[in-house]
Symmetry: D3
Subunit: 253 residues, 6 copies
């Protein structure tokens, strides 16, 4: 029996609120139980210097825990003048995960930045950030898409944490479970079932191939559920994912 | 007629949501129209080094705009490694304003940090931050207060921006009004009607003593309204403000 | 009776030395009693990036206390790698104050930077810095002005601190008075009597509208005195302030 | 056929040179083909502040690419004043990997820092760093170990990169292979065959469960080979790994 | 003939003003022609951490060019968040030079910090800083000295720049001479004629042993002159330099 | 008798290994006894901004001690976010020394950066760095030189430390000798016998002109020896040093 009475395979209640703030091209508040992450997607008509003139776009992410997202206050990174190693590691992961489902050529020379600010942290903030950012990304891409050519988002993308607790493999660990787990794994998957990223860590223990497989099985089920939630939240906005459109205006030529 | 149809003297719709996040000792989402600021109050049993052993507490504030709180994305201060001058100026103001209504001796050797993170910015973020932080502060102080002695919060504290627009003095400027105002003033007041801080700036023009008085008149009305909203939001939690309690347990001695 | 025997309304002895250093376009040592601030104005034919090509100029300020300007040594900001919040707040105030009397269009695409380095600090360093910087600014503008069109300096600008001490309102507080004052206010005014900035703070107490008015009355008298001293120090150099000149060379056309 | 003619399953020539520098408690130059990493282990009789007085030790790592380890010069992190996100991510991985095989209680209140400085980089620097650091760690631990109780190193630890290139799964990718691989995975394993860390990334593509399994099979073979090389390099120095010793001196009591 | 008509061997007019500012234990404005450096000596009853409890004191220096000390404005180091390499190099030199004539044991556990802020720079700022700091140091030491034991200042210390210009060796180069010199040398000497530091640099050329000797001859004459000026400026305050006093109060024992 | 039995005039065994790493245009491991410095020379077709379009090149250096190059671990500068004053001072010296023998016009608009990373430090790291960097510089220049015009390297350049120990002047001090020496001097010389830089410091004592001369005599002998070793190490690669070539292809015109 888990702390909150959940089934080992159960994801916490998922809530995805689109248009949470007014100005970002995509703005999503995602909740995995008590974990709440605000994912804002901004579109800017520019690319990093090393990509200029190549006709391709870029997707990147920044992550931050609000100082009092956690049970005790963390010092503010802006005040210290430095992001922690954990922050750097997480924001790199979010960026990589989303780029895996984006067609950068189709994006044109635009940058989409995902700002993931954790309002409340109860475990799984990076997986919630990826899952919520995907929804914000689609809303942001829709402000750019002109209805012809390749739609820049090729597939869904969702992430979940799984781990081995005292009673075996469990899905979507809350903070207390996470701090006791011997193995912790974050898995990012696409809608077509492919893996984007697998990060399993046994700092407080090690794990066997069988355990790895059991964790991946849990992650597959959970990410499938998350992608259903994304699809439902997006509704009409999801219609172009993975599609290519001919330019009918050029048919006449 | 103002952009949003408001009366020159009118404050935008105010909404104060307590317990917005779960872990902070005080957590308030305050809304002044489209401006939304999350004010988390954290209590820590320590004081800055220069105050150690003096038996007094400290109240301080940190402020941040989420990168996409605004119409176009601002770069993240933690990523740049530096807070902007504007951020520094605002967080110093918030701290000073709240300290003016706190009895630091009654607080004991505790620090209360107000983290003001702007989720959405449409003008007046610093005055919303002060007004919301006061409510969070009271909730945080209540976790410390033991029912005897001086209650550490002496009086209410609320703030409003006023300014001179093209048609004269107006209250609670939204972003568009603020960017066009010739004079901009932030006023912080107590429940008993005293002034805590008056900051009037005429960067795009100058102002006369008469104009200053007209602005202060507007600010008095508006901060009175804001303090009513604070009182209503706090309900029972506001009961000790300004009070002193004898220690009944010592009566028996 | 004040610490130094002054009348409550009296400004300390003011001394303005122009051409204090040799290379700056304007260089003024200003003394308010024991407070001594070196104000150097530099003209550079460039503007901040966000203003390029708009044909307007910019006026900005930087402020620093020399480490041993004060009774005990402050650590050097350059060695710590960070300006304090106080420094940031003050230099923003100086810049705003001076911009209020400068016609940025008339300045052309030039930046004037006021470097205010406090050699000795006995209270009122920010008001001395504004008052001295104005004189340095005029000298610097005169190196640019070609004798036709609008002269870039529209009016005088001077600043004074006033406050409420144990015996009531006083003008131009020295350090010891400042550290004991319950209310501290900095007022910046123009030669035509308009207010540019009013910053009143009651961190160690609060203040009423009547007290605010009493302080503003003191500030008016004092800034009038300071502007007389500026005028006297500038002599001939002040002749163009607020003036517009027709271009006689174009009369012939 | 691979770029350098290697079999898909083949690790590049491995060379482990102990005592490469004179002062560190453990100093290893490890070469995976053209990749050369200097791994210095330092023992210091202290622990991070948050662990003081708990009787446990700590193992941590720092990583750096020398500016000209690579084909074109990278700017020096010390000169920029900031470690890159990649550096931060890698040094966290190295620390976690080694802690997984160290008994921190047995280490006592000592910190072992692994400084991994890449002299030459041709892909796989993080896996070479882990594999070489393990050897340096054992040499460093041997300077502390008194012959009784639990030996602080519980098991071997080695790491390898595997990936999916244009012709399928390959082991120990060189830089050119790495930059073209669609999937890249780093695997850290113990001598007893357990997994410590699995990090698979499909930024330039995605991967199936079958592909993941094929990659893990390659990684198992390769890390077994690496641990043989570690064992051979350590010789006598490896004798205590995983052992517990009774304190014979107390037998006499 | 030199730019300013000086004899090749001539030092520029030297002016030493003691008590230039009011609060520092020693405060000297030193002028070498147009070069003006404010040297403040602060005494603090503490030592760097690595010296605690050893009973010895420390002497250190910090150096800064005010932004407009020079012909064109330099950006402010505090604003950039970083001291330049030139600043670091110079302040290390000043500290070393003065420590060479101070008996750190006799100083007790006190730190004397020399803050050298260049108000106007026309070449030779580092040598002026050393020469002026010596005077400020003596004034500061005199606030500590109790009249018995070893006086902490063992000997005089002065510095001069010499160089090889287009017409041969010259003393005390002004900025224009310095920027054209093929060899530039800074020499620090004691009152008893010993060398403390010799830094000769031939970046724009090289130099022979004979040229080195010619430069040292010039430096000897010049530093002798500077030490006369120091002695004169200090007057009575110089009386203890190099002396040891018996404790007469212990005679009675 | 010296610690290691050396003659006072003797340089430690010198070993120069070219092509130590594979990618840099010049890569030299230089050993002065136990001191080992890796000197990598990188050629980049660009110059600092202030030199653009002038047709001249630039030579600069960066220096770093690996954290465990020393007997006890030094904290990593990249992790602290700041280079130490010692590092800054040394890398400026290396750059100046090499520029003195390079014809920047002949180099064209290229920058050569010397990265000097100390793998093991036993005194004399800066002089080893200069001596080794010269060899790496020649290798790097040879990748640019087209066989006509002025060869960019005008002369040899080597450096040695000399000092006054308890038994008089000694050459090439090891760490233990260096920490006890009363005077420490670094001398950089050219192949034609000219001095480039002389830096003598008497922090733990002072020195006379006679002692200075004795030290310079030692330095001359030692640098002559070092330049022989450079010549031998370079072999054929040294053939163009100091030469000018006519462009035979233009003879035909």
């Amino acid at each position: 029996m888990r702390i909150d009475g959940r089934n080992p395979k159960a994801v916490r209640p998922i809530k995805i609120t689109r248009h949470f703030t007014a100005y970002a091209e995509g703005s999503v508040l995602i909740e995995f139980g008590n974990t709440k992450v605000l994912c804002n997607a901004s579109v800017e008509p520019k690319v990093p210097r090393f990509m200029k003139g190549e006709g391709r776009g870029w997707v990147t992410a920044e992550y931050s825990l609000l100082p009092r997202a956690t049970q005790t206050r963390n010092s503010r990174e802006a005040a210290k003048g430095k992001q922690t190693g954990r922050t750097v590691e997480i924001q790199r992961l979010i960026g990589r995960a989303l780029r895996a489902v984006v067609d950068l050529e189709a994006l044109g020379e635009n940058t989409i930045t995902l700002d993931c600010d954790v309002l409340q942290a109860d475990g799984g903030t990076r997986t919630a950030a990826i899952t919520g950012s995907f929804v914000a990304l689609v809303d942001a891409v829709n402000t750019l898409f002109k209805g012809t050519g390749v739609y820049p988002v090729r597939d869904y993308c969702a992430a979940i944490s799984v781990g081995i607790g005292s009673e075996g493999p469990i899905t979507d660990l809350c903070y207390e479970e996470d701090s006791k787990a011997v193995v912790d794994m974050n898995v990012v998957r696409t809608g077509s079932g492919a893996l984007i990223e697998v990060q399993g860590t046994g700092e407080h223990g090690t794990f066997s191939r069988d355990e790895l497989n059991a964790l991946l099985d849990l992650a597959e089920t959970a990410t499938d559920d998350l992608m259903k939630a994304q699809k439902e939240a997006l509704g009409e906005a999801a219609q172009h994912i993975g599609a290519t459109y001919e330019d009918s205006s050029s048919d006449a030529q």
